[in-house]
Structure formats: C-alpha cells, structure tokens
Point group: D2
Chain length 363, copies 4
Amino acid sequence: MKVGIVGLGYWGPNLVRNFQADNEIEKVIGCDKEPERLNYIKLRFPNVELMDSFDNLLLSDVDAVAIATPVNTHYKFAKRVLEAGKHVWVEKPFTSNSAQARDLIELAGKKDLKVFVDHTFLYAGAVKKIKEIVESGELGDIIYFDSVRINLGLFQHDVNVIWDLVPHDLAIMNYVLKDKTPVAVTANGIANYYDQENIAHISIHFKSEDCFAHFHVNWTSPVKIRRMILVGTKKMLVYDDMENSEKIKVYDCGIEMLSSKEKIRKALVQYRIGDMYSPKVIQTEALALGVKEFVSAIKEGRQPLTNGHDGLEVVRILEASDKSIKNRGCLIELEEKEIIKPAVKTFEREDFIKKIRIMSNGL
Amino acid sequence: MKVGIVGLGYWGPNLVRNFQADNEIEKVIGCDKEPERLNYIKLRFPNVELMDSFDNLLLSDVDAVAIATPVNTHYKFAKRVLEAGKHVWVEKPFTSNSAQARDLIELAGKKDLKVFVDHTFLYAGAVKKIKEIVESGELGDIIYFDSVRINLGLFQHDVNVIWDLVPHDLAIMNYVLKDKTPVAVTANGIANYYDQENIAHISIHFKSEDCFAHFHVNWTSPVKIRRMILVGTKKMLVYDDMENSEKIKVYDCGIEMLSSKEKIRKALVQYRIGDMYSPKVIQTEALALGVKEFVSAIKEGRQPLTNGHDGLEVVRILEASDKSIKNRGCLIELEEKEIIKPAVKTFEREDFIKKIRIMSNGL
Amino acid sequence: MKVGIVGLGYWGPNLVRNFQADNEIEKVIGCDKEPERLNYIKLRFPNVELMDSFDNLLLSDVDAVAIATPVNTHYKFAKRVLEAGKHVWVEKPFTSNSAQARDLIELAGKKDLKVFVDHTFLYAGAVKKIKEIVESGELGDIIYFDSVRINLGLFQHDVNVIWDLVPHDLAIMNYVLKDKTPVAVTANGIANYYDQENIAHISIHFKSEDCFAHFHVNWTSPVKIRRMILVGTKKMLVYDDMENSEKIKVYDCGIEMLSSKEKIRKALVQYRIGDMYSPKVIQTEALALGVKEFVSAIKEGRQPLTNGHDGLEVVRILEASDKSIKNRGCLIELEEKEIIKPAVKTFEREDFIKKIRIMSNGL
Amino acid sequence: MKVGIVGLGYWGPNLVRNFQADNEIEKVIGCDKEPERLNYIKLRFPNVELMDSFDNLLLSDVDAVAIATPVNTHYKFAKRVLEAGKHVWVEKPFTSNSAQARDLIELAGKKDLKVFVDHTFLYAGAVKKIKEIVESGELGDIIYFDSVRINLGLFQHDVNVIWDLVPHDLAIMNYVLKDKTPVAVTANGIANYYDQENIAHISIHFKSEDCFAHFHVNWTSPVKIRRMILVGTKKMLVYDDMENSEKIKVYDCGIEMLSSKEKIRKALVQYRIGDMYSPKVIQTEALALGVKEFVSAIKEGRQPLTNGHDGLEVVRILEASDKSIKNRGCLIELEEKEIIKPAVKTFEREDFIKKIRIMSNGL
C-alpha cells in the first residue's frame, strides 16, 4: 500500500515516521506547500518522496491520504481525497462541523472507501485496558466520567481549547461508555487572551439519568494533569496518564445505601474501601497501532475502529459545547445518535481488541 | 468570657476543645439533647459544664453561643441566641437561604451583637499566605480560580454536596479575590443515590469579564484531592492541601501575546516558564485562630474577619448554584453585592493579617 | 489491672492516653520528678493519679509499670520494677547493651513476670499485613530488605541516630524475616554536630548468604522518607509509611535467569513486570493494640509478641552497629542467636495475628 | 571534523545521532563487527558511512574515535586510537582499572591528544544548575552527599552494578564537590543471581572529616528512584531526576547548635525550616552538549570538562569499592589524588559553565 501525508507541520512528521515503519506500507509521499517543512522531512526521512502540490499527490498512485492540516481545511482536503477514489485518514477533530462530517461519511459510503479518524488514544494500551475492564462488568454500571486535561499548552490560533483538547477525551468516553447516549451539553469557560477560549468546563447529561460526565480542558495551568476518574456502581477507576507506571488504578470501593431509616442523625449512605490494583499496560506506541488498524480495515474491507461515525459523534458534542460556551453555559440538546447506514460490513470491536493484544504481545 | 456550644455531634467536640484551650475563655458549656453525646464530652473534657436544654443555656450567663447543629436549624438557633442578647458563632454554611442570613445580620446590627461565621479555612496558614501573595500583586490580576475538593466523603442526609463542601472554597475565593464581583452562576451534577446531589461542577462568571472560577465538589471520588489553581496575569499559584509540606507553589510562568501578526501558522500566544518556589506556611490550628478572632472582635467591638456578611455572600452563591443544578445548568444571575450597613466599625483586614502573623510567630 | 507509667515527657502521654482508653485497665498512675510534666498530664487526663516518686509507685498496688524514660535509665528502672514483683513495659530500645537485656530477661524468667518491649510498629496494620504476605509465601524467599527512615529529625542528646531510629526497622525486619539469621553488621556514617552520629548506613549479612539488608537512618534530611523495599524471588513489596492510603504495594515482578549461554552480548538475566496491587490496611492505632497484647499476655500467662528476647535481638544489632560505626565500617560478627529458655509457654504468633484481625474488624 | 564510532549496540546509536546532528562534524563513520548492527544504523541514518573493521577505521581520515564497546575492551581500543594519532572519546567507566587509565592519560599527554570520558550527566541542565548553586556558596559547606540510583535494571554480564551505575554518581560528586578529597571507601552488597553483585551500598569518607557520602545502586528494585540529597551547613538540596519538572529543590532549612547547655532534657541541636524553591533547568540533551565540548576542546587545544583525569578519579573509587564489596565492607584507603601533569593548558570550568548557558539559551 502507498500513502500520502498532507501537512508536515507539528503532527505530520509523526505520521511519516509511523507509516514508514509499518511493514505493509511500500511508499510514503509527504506533501506541504512550505519548502522549509519539506526540507525538515528530507533530512530526517531520506526515503520519503516529497511533493509541494496537493493536486499532484492526488494524481499519484497512492491508495490513501492522511490529512494533518489545520482543522478548518480537513473537510476540503478529505473531500477531494475521496473524490479521487482514495481512502482517507483525518486528524482529530474530524471536521469543523457535523454537516461536513455527515457529507464525508456519505461520500465515502457511496464510493466504498474508508474514513479513518485519528482518535489516537483509542490505540493506547491504557485505554484498551480500561475498555476491557469496563466491558468485563468489574466496575458495575458507570455513573460518573470525569476528565481533566490541563497544562501550559500550545495555544491554537484557529480553534479554541475545546476543539483542540476535548476530542481525545470524548473519543475515549464514547469508546468506553458505548452504550450510554449523551443527550445534552453545557459548557462554561473564558477567553482571556484573544477570541478563542483557553479554559473550558463541559458537562454532559445522558439519556439514562444515572450517569454524568465532565471535562476540564485548559491551556493555562501551571501544572500538567491528564487524569480520568470513572465511578462505577461496584468499583472505581483512575487513569493518570502522567504516571510512568501505574497509569491505571482500580479501587475496590463503593457507596452503599443503608436501608434502615431510623438513624436520622447519620448519613443514609456509607462507603466501603478495599484493595486497589494497577494492571500492567502495553507500551506499544498508539499511533503505530492506529496505522495497523487503518491498513487492516482497508485490506479487509471493513470500517476501522475509529471511523467517520466516531468522528461525527465527537464533532456533534464539540459543536454543542461551542454553542453553549458562547451562550454562558446554556443547555444544548443533542439530537438522537444518528445512524448513517454504512455501505460495508461493520467493524467488530471485540475482535479488534483481541487482535491488538496479539500484536502487542509480539512486540 | 463564657461560651456555650450547641450541637456536640461531629464538629462540636472540636469547638469544645478549642474554646476550652483559649486563654480568654473562663467557662465552656456544652449543650445537646442526646445523653450519649453529653457523655462523650464528659469523658474527654471533664471540666466542661453540660446541659441538655437550649432554653437553659440561653438563661445561663454565657456571653456567646456557638451553633454546630444541622444547617436547617442554624437560623432558628442563631435567632434565639441574638434575641437573648448574646453574640453568636455559626458553623458554615451560615444559613439555609439568603433571607435568613439577612435577617440575622439585621437583628445583630440592631442589638449591637457580633455574628461569626465559621469559615475555618480563612484562619489556616496556607490561605493566609495565599491572601498575602495575591494582595502583594505578585501574581498580577487573577483571571482564573479553580478549586477541586473531592473524595469518598461522608454523605449528608439533609444537604447536597454543594451546601456541604463548596462553602469552604467560596469563602476562600471571596477572601482572596475580594475586589472581584461574582455576577452569575451555573451548576451541573448528579444525584446518584438519593435526592441530594453527590457530584457538582459550579462555574462562576464575574462582573469584570476577564475572570472565571470553577468548583468541583464530589462525595464519590476514589482519590482525595483538595487543590486550588490561581492563574494570574504575571504568575500562577497552586495550593494542594493534601501535601504535608509544600502546600503552596508559586510558578513564575505566564502567557504572553505576540504582537506580530505575520506568523500565521504559529500560535499568537506563547508561554514562559521560570523558577518555582514554595513558601513556608504557619502550622497553627485554624480553629484556634478562629476562636481568637471571635473573642477579639467581641472585646474590641468590631466585626470579625468572617462575619455575617461573608456568610451571606457565600449563601447567595450556594442558593444560586442549587437553583442552577436543579435546572440542568441554567445560568442564575446574582444581584449586586448587598451592603447591609453595619452598626459598628468595620474590621480592618490588613491589621488582622499582621496580627495573625504576630500571634503565629509566638507559637 | 492497674498500671504505672514512669516518664511523662515526649512519649509518656501517649502511653497514658492508650492505657487509660483500654477497657481492661482500671487505674493509671503517672510518675515523673518534674512538676511541670505532672501538671501537663493533670490538665489533659484529670482521672489519672499522679506521683513524683518512683519508690512510692513501686509501693502502690499497680500490677505493671511502663518505662518511658531516657534509654540509659531503662535497665535501672526495669530491674527495680521486676524486683518489686511487677510486670514491665519498656520503650524501645530495650536497654543500652545486651548484657542488661539478658539480665532483665533472666530476672523476669525467675520471677515469672512478663517483659514487654514497645516495638510499636509490629502492631501497625501495615506491618501486620506485610507479615501475612511474606508468610503466605507470595513473595518467594526474601533476598533483600531495604529500609530508609530519614527526615529533619529531633536530635537526641544521649544516643545517636542508630539507637534512636533503627530499633523500629530492626524490629520489623526480625518479625517479618523471622527465619533469617543476621550474622554480621557494618555501619558507616558521620557525626556533624556533636559526638552523636546524625547519619548512619547499616548493612546486615545473613547466615544464608542469599539475603542482605540495609538501613539508612538520618536526622538531617530535608525530605521525610519512611520506606521499605522487600525483594523476593517471586514478587517485590514496597512499604511507604508516608502515603495516606496505598502504604503497601506488591509488584508482580521478578528477575529470571536465562539458561541459554549463547547470547554473549546480552544479559544473562532478564526481568518480568506484571500487575501491582495495594492491599487495604487496618487503621487501628498501633499503640492501642500493643496495650491489648501486653494485658492479654499477662492474663494468659504467656510471652507477649514483643518480649524481652525480641528486645535483646534488636539491642545486639544496635550494639554491633555502634561498634562498627566507631571503627569506620569494620565488620562486626554477631554471635549465634541466643535462646534464654523462657519459664512459661511461648507466644503463638499465628494466633496473635488472627486475634488482632478479629479485634480490628470490630473497631 | 570527522569522527568514527566503535560499537553500535545499546549506546552507540545515540552517539551516531548526536555526532551527526552537530554542525562541526562533517562525517560520521560507524564501526561494528556484527552486520545486524550495521544494518540497524543504515536504516536509521542513511548518511552515516559504515565499516566492519576497526583496523580500517584507524586507517581512515577520522580525527577522533568514540568507543562504545564493553568496559573491558575500552583500554585496548582507546590505546590503538591514540597510537594512531587520533583523539578519543570513551564511554563510562573509562577503563577496567586505574593502571589502564593512567596509561591512557600518559599516552595522550605525550602525543598531545585529547581524551574525553563520557560522564554524560555533567552536561545535563540539572547537574549544571547544582554545580552553580554549590559554587555560589548558597548551601554553605557540603557535609553529606547521598545518591540513590535503583530500578529493575538491565543486568550486565561483564560488570557488576557498581561498575555499571555508580560512575554517573561519582562523576557528579567529583564535579560538584571538587574541593573535597575522598580518602577511604567501604562497600556492601550481594550477588543474588550470578557472580556479579546486583545491589551495592558504598560509603565514602573524606579528608576533611566533616563530610560523608553514600551511594545506593541496585538492579533489583521494583521502584525506579534516581535521587540525590546534598546537605549543606546553610541549606539543603534534593535532585530528583524522575521528576518531569521541579528536578531540583533547594530547601532553606538547616541544623543549628544551641549554645546553652542548661536544657539537659532537651536536644542541644535544633532545626529551622523556611521556604523552598525549584530553579528552572535547561532541557537541552546532555549528550549533544557533550559532543560540543569534545569538539571545542580539540579545536581550542585544551582539556575537555570530562577528561582522562576525571575518568581516572572515578575508576579509582570503583576499584576500591569493588575490592571492599568482595571483602564484606572492609575499609579501602585511597591514595592521594594523583596529578599526572597535563601537557596542555587546563580547562577553565567557570568559562565552560558560562558558555553552556549561552549555547542553551539559543536553543
């Protein structure tokens, strides 16, 4: 398989490196308008072919194109890739709005092409392990999902902190809580420096009213925190991505209702604390596994784990969050989860998890 | 001075211990309906006089009464204390609603009595130090105040997690950011176990639109976090109350706007990272200093640092937060900060800080 | 049972509090020459009888006496207690040298009295749990025991840091590794301020040459560390006493020899890393359980868990360490573990562990 | 300048990368007997010339050769490099014994060639900063140097944990405490798996008897710790290399003697605790700065910061430590620090620090 990569700025070189390292990829073509970026790649990856014209890239024999350009150009580039009959890999967030996302999904469906949205974290060992633990039922039903992703971060000039950082966390939430349906969003925050918000707090309400989620993203924190807390009816889990080891901790603790109503002065609810354990997590680079999944999905004629629909689900919440934060936290309802019928057979998640595990063991 | 303490449950014994240890207090009378609580105090503090009747306590020669009963009884008890011509100490939150708070302030004003609201944290060495740092201007203007107070906590049967935990953090915010005026509140969260919310996220908007605050309180977190982040235009501060030492860290880091507009591909904002320092913090028990301030205020005929107005300011935000969380995050506007004219000369904050420092050095 | 407590300085008040709180103790008599210390106790524990004469205490009807005086007076006081026909509780370290320890053990044996040495940590939930884990065989054979106990500590004027701090760690080592026999000791360190060493590093060699232990004690460290590492042939354990929760972590990791000799460029040894877990630890105050054990041992006519022999074993290593540090790390061999035949039936450790567990559950 | 690199195993590729990235280096030749290693480099660094014969490398036009082969071959290869009239870079530890080190220093002196010993940590921003702080006198006189470098490490088949890990820490100690003279060494530890010790504790005594150092190195610890504590007479410093930020903390705390002798029951020594600060540390890769120093020293005809003498000083202590650990901690005295008169002008440390700072600012 041959792959083109458009946009060789901050993230593009990582795509170049990982596509080039994959056994199934014979050729990688890098594409950027700026000579300085082409030169940067040339020095580090002498085997990569380089082009300064997107038109020429589409005329080449690549089977797929990865898009790592600014968000507001994703749609434009991805559409042309699909129209040229090639599969497409799009960096997160998928598109600037949900209409664009729907359009791309439909177009890919018609042309029987694959859309891969790079929700990289879903290929990280830690998230894979959390998914396994949640699906095993060990935590019970999830009633709270809390995510904090803050540090002194690189300000983006074209999008706010919501579009920049929350896609990671929303993708993880949608993946791990796949049977929960978000129905409404509120977001609050502030834009201290220019018109893009640099701090945001997003709350998500679900169809089943016994679950709640919150996301804190922030470009202006002196401390770097990347932590998720999942509270289940049986156990609780903390995922701290800043830890070198012990990224995941599962706490055998929970809340229990007391049936007796007589103890009027005491709480009617008590908690239980037991052992904690921290499962071993696979260290393989997430992006390398993402590339593998993209290639496999194309070869097997199936949807990848992180496909256009997953991209759309994230974009819908981003869109609603943005609308809410512009209206001082006004509640924005989401329409029902849309199913745009896929033209090809659906991806089987369980199979993928097993496959990833096998691949990772071999590494 | 002689003091009565009503309510000898969870917090009352701490009041007994600290009032008894204060040099200025000659007599402490404990009061509770339940014989078991009276017995508990008798065993530990044999010198404390005990009563099972609030009426009798009011008939005694105590100069002041401290109220450590459930929130919804604060108003009832405090009113009778003031009517009996005695000064009153009320645990946080001051009252169940702002009307009650206003009523007590007015009554105390008429009778020239003091109302002390036990926002204990304002007497803690760490908060004192933060106040000093902020007032020195070292951080610049505060543009973000973030507070997290979560753990596997004791559920309250009569109030939700907002009324239970946020008063601490709101009192600190009002103290440290005394020149900022909160104008609107939104709150989101969930009640997973019974009708009281166990998780809440509260956003506060200010009159000057370049400041924003957020509070996360939670009774159902497997990890205990008590951390505040203050972002200033010059420096940033983190207060981690779970640290044994190094509770406060001041980061010489900040965000700077780039004037040049030409670098279109790069961020227009950059950050600077410098040294960090952690100032020494006085260890004296906060409650002991609170007792000293109560006694001094009465003797000097002035308002205490944490008086009824401070209690009212906190209650107003609690009230609005509660209204918002009941309405899925609907924005609740606060009326202008009310000034109920005090009958006696106002407390001078700067003097108090100096005084506390002197007292603490001597310990 | 009635108990006298001699020495009401730094540690004595803790003994007073715990003996007084125990159900089996009817009367507590405090004894100290200094009026100021007697007054201190009087204010806090009005029910405790006070004496300023040790002679009078021995004439009283107490069944046992606890000694919390400076180390070099332990022997003198303990001997008179035993001669007066009373059981004795001695703070750590047991005595100033091993000859004194042997003398007390013999005297108690002749008079059929109990000697309790206050190695308090052996009654702490964490140490209890470590003992259980080691005895279960889960860690395999222990090949390394490492202990660090350092901070900016209170200098003792009469003993060096070895006699002050290592008794805790040696008692834990002897308890947890009861089947290992220490045979030689070296100690290095420095006395920076006066004639007592403030820093010491002690190495212990064992009869079975596949085990090694090291102890770092230090009064002059800016950071406070209290951590033990136990390396077993199967798993490894870390005990961090500064953690609020997760004091113990058991790592399923180990070292494995590779049989193949062909890979000459690669290591012949590889390691394996698996999950980690942190068991729940009982929070009951160790000293309270120590008091219970003392009382039970007397009533049941058996040796307590931490008896004179345990005290002697610790003192022998302290003695050797002190000799070594005075001679720049010269290796000091220990004689074979001495068995002074006890006059009464021996304490059964396994029973005690079970009993402690039952008691703790009820709390 | 042209450089050859011998040994392309674990560390060699890092040398290739850093030499290749340096502006002053025109050509890099890699050399290894094993085709697999040559191939590894070829794929990653297509511009590097490759050779499988060391003889041919010496015949080439390289100005200098870097040696990254097993320790026991350092001397053999380095000698031939010098004999061939080329400058030499040797990985740590410099040689297998001090006689070899002296021989190489002498040979280089005669031929007016430079010997660089790769004590990489001396080029790390954190160590640079510690050096600055110590030299400024801020800490007062250093009385204690404690180093812990432990984790589940890669066992070496040809050397024990002392030769593998302590060179880093000894080099730092010699650099930071350049005016202290080590005079005696004791080492204790154990070899649990084969004939090479996997755990070692090394104590160092100094000429001035008010300083002491200790090193703990360990391949079999479940937790990774890389921490140094420097206790000065004025302040204390902790260097934790596992921290992402805040690697260095300077504590304004110290120990003070009380002059009064009357308080017989109290300690004669007290401690003072003040603020802490954590200076910003330069992030430039240490190895890149090492390469710069090597190239500059050659061009300027001066000794590099980490030259043969520095290598010899470290080897002398390693040699003594090894002798001691083989003899159960027997004290091994070091001869006086040897000065083999350098043939060329000496390196000026202060200049280098300033230079490094200038270089780093530009990055």
